[in-house]
């Protein structure tokens, strides 16, 4: 599905001294089967933006379109199934006695029969490399295991768009690697992924397009190469290296992923 936000404005606590305009007219499109990364400093409006994608927050003005249809006209439960949102530190919302029960929460809310629920629970736990955690208590897991269980809890709805708000924050490298691979395999199967992240290196590895937010507005949006080569100061390490070399060796192109950069460097050596 195609998810589109059109000129979305959002004001927190309107009419009080705490009033803050978090989004000042943001337009962004999530195409079918792409990985869109959203980057930006703290307080730039990233988390507010992603909560509009399943209308947990309703825009003060502007609209959210699902395949061209105004999302407010869809049933809320339907919209939230199709757009799966994983909050930042999702493990803080684990609640059930076992991981299996917890992951089963969302599919049960969908009214699926127990067999289907079980199947989805195992499928999403396996997708996160957490199949062996099913019978454990979520409160006795390690940080990385909790994160896997929590993300599985959203994946079990089989969303068409998966929105991940800083999913790798505070994770160990192995879990991070697994998560990035999950994102790529979801894209493979036609699921769109929105990835909010502060880690430009991981954004470079998985993102098809990058949207940069600054103080509630979109400052740049485009392919990873366009955005990162537009402002190499804010780019991941491989891009900074490539940018330095490109001054004297324009032939190396605009590599973004570490493998591409490696290939480009090898090609330069060859010439």
């Amino acid at each position: 599905m195609k998810l589109e936000l059109r000129d979305v404005r959002y004001v927190y606590a309107p009419g009080t001294p705490f009033e803050v305009e978090a989004l000042k007219g943001v337009s962004v499109v999530v195409e079918q089967g792409e990985v869109l990364a959203i980057v930006g400093g703290t307080g730039s409006g990233k988390s507010t933006l992603v909560q509009h994608m399943n209308l947990l927050l309703v825009p003060t003005s502007g609209e959210v379109l699902v395949d061209g249809v105004d999302a407010t006209t869809l049933k809320k439960s339907e919209l939230r199934r199709r757009v799966g949102l994983v909050f930042q530190f999702p493990e803080s919302a684990l609640f059930a006695p076992t991981v299996e029960e917890d992951v089963a929460f969302a599919p049960r809310q969908l009214g699926l029969d127990e067999e289907e629920v079980r199947e989805r629970v195992l499928e999403s736990l396996r997708a996160l490399g957490a199949g062996d955690l099913a019978a454990r208590s979520p409160f006795g897991l390690s940080g990385g295991e909790k994160r896997r269980a929590a993300i599985a809890g959203v994946l079990a709805m089989r969303p068409e768009v998966l929105v991940l708000d800083e999913p790798t924050a505070g994770l160990d490298p192995a879990t991070r690697e697994d998560l990035l691979n999950l994102i790529l395999s979801l894209r493979e199967s036609g699921v769109s992924v929105v990835l909010v992240s502060h880690d430009l290196d991981e954004v470079a590895e998985v993102a098809d397009r990058v949207c940069a937010l600054h103080e509630g507005r979109v400052s740049t949006v485009g392919t990873a190469a366009e955005v990162f080569y537009g402002d190499p100061a804010l780019a991941p390490a491989t891009v900074r290296v490539a940018s330095l070399l490109r001054g004297s060796r324009p032939g190396m192109g605009n590599p973004v992923r570490s493998q591409e950069t490696l290939d480009a460097l090898r090609a330069l050596q060859g010439t």
Partner: protein
């Protein structure tokens, strides 16, 4: 940041905000005791007028202040209805089956409603114009004579400060968990009261777990910064009881006395 409710600090600068928290605490205590000594409607209305003036001076918008009172409206309504229908004093104004409305009941209902509203308003004004930390400092100071009889004044004040400090934090946390569960298809508004209460289990469990974790972390953080109780602990902001504070307190006493005598 969610909706404002009873007991929340409203940060603007005003003469009321600037008063010493001890003066405001004492004045509120005087006010509350005074309210129960006033037995005439005129006296109560006089005090009510004084409170309205005070709210105006405190620069809290009237709408915001009235919203503070919303949680007690149910109790007020219940009190009024109770008095109106069950009191048999005065002339009969209205009769319908076993229901009788008497003038005395109407008067008493209104009187009690006003008293409750004033009671809550005075407490609301105190917390709306006093930062929680200042409030706790004030309470600690006022309770400190009790230290002589081994009353843990500092500890009580510290617990209050922490509790007050964490109300908004827990509120935010609850909002976040609610959002996360809503994203997983939880619905908090559908079904009868029992189903709705049940739908909050997925919020309450993580919230409780989180609160315990936070308490542990806070204790560690306090210890690693050298906190070891109130003994010899100094304050960053010293409270100072000025002439204006004494005047404010005297004015409150005066208003209440007039109210009682009226």
């Amino acid at each position: 940041m969610t909706t404002r409710s009873l007991g929340q600090f409203y940060p603007v600068s005003s003469p009321v905000h600037a008063l010493d928290p001890r003066a405001k605490l004492l004045a509120t205590a005087v006010f509350v005791v005074g309210l129960f000594l006033i037995d005439s409607m005129v006296g109560l209305l006089f005090v009510a007028a004084a409170l309205v003036a005070l709210v105006a001076v405190s620069r809290i918008p009237a709408g915001t202040f009235l919203r503070l009172l919303r949680p007690v409206l149910f109790i007020v309504a219940l009190t009024v209805l109770f008095q109106v229908f069950f009191s048999r004093e005065g002339a009969t104004l209205f009769e319908w089956g076993f229901l009788e409305v008497h003038s005395g009941g109407l008067r008493l209902g209104f009187f009690l409603a006003l008293r409750i509203l004033l009671l809550v308003s005075s407490a609301g004004l105190l917390t709306a114009t006093t930062a929680p930390v200042a409030l706790a400092d004030g309470i600690e100071d006022l309770l400190s004579p009790l230290k002589k009889v081994r009353f843990p004044a500092h500890e009580v004040a510290m617990m209050m400060t922490i509790a007050l400090r964490f109300i908004p934090t827990l509120g935010e946390e609850a909002e976040k968990i609610k959002g996360a569960q809503a994203a997983r298809g939880a619905d908090f508004s559908e079904g009868g009261p029992i189903r709705r209460a049940r739908s909050f289990i997925p919020v309450l469990i993580p919230l409780t777990v989180g609160a315990f974790r936070r308490a542990d972390e806070l204790a560690d953080a306090m210890e690693s910064r050298g906190y070891r109780g109130g003994e010899g602990r100094t304050r960053y902001r010293e409270l100072r009881f000025r002439v204006s504070d004494a005047l404010a307190l005297a004015l409150t006493l005066f208003i209440l006395l007039v109210g009682i005598l009226l």
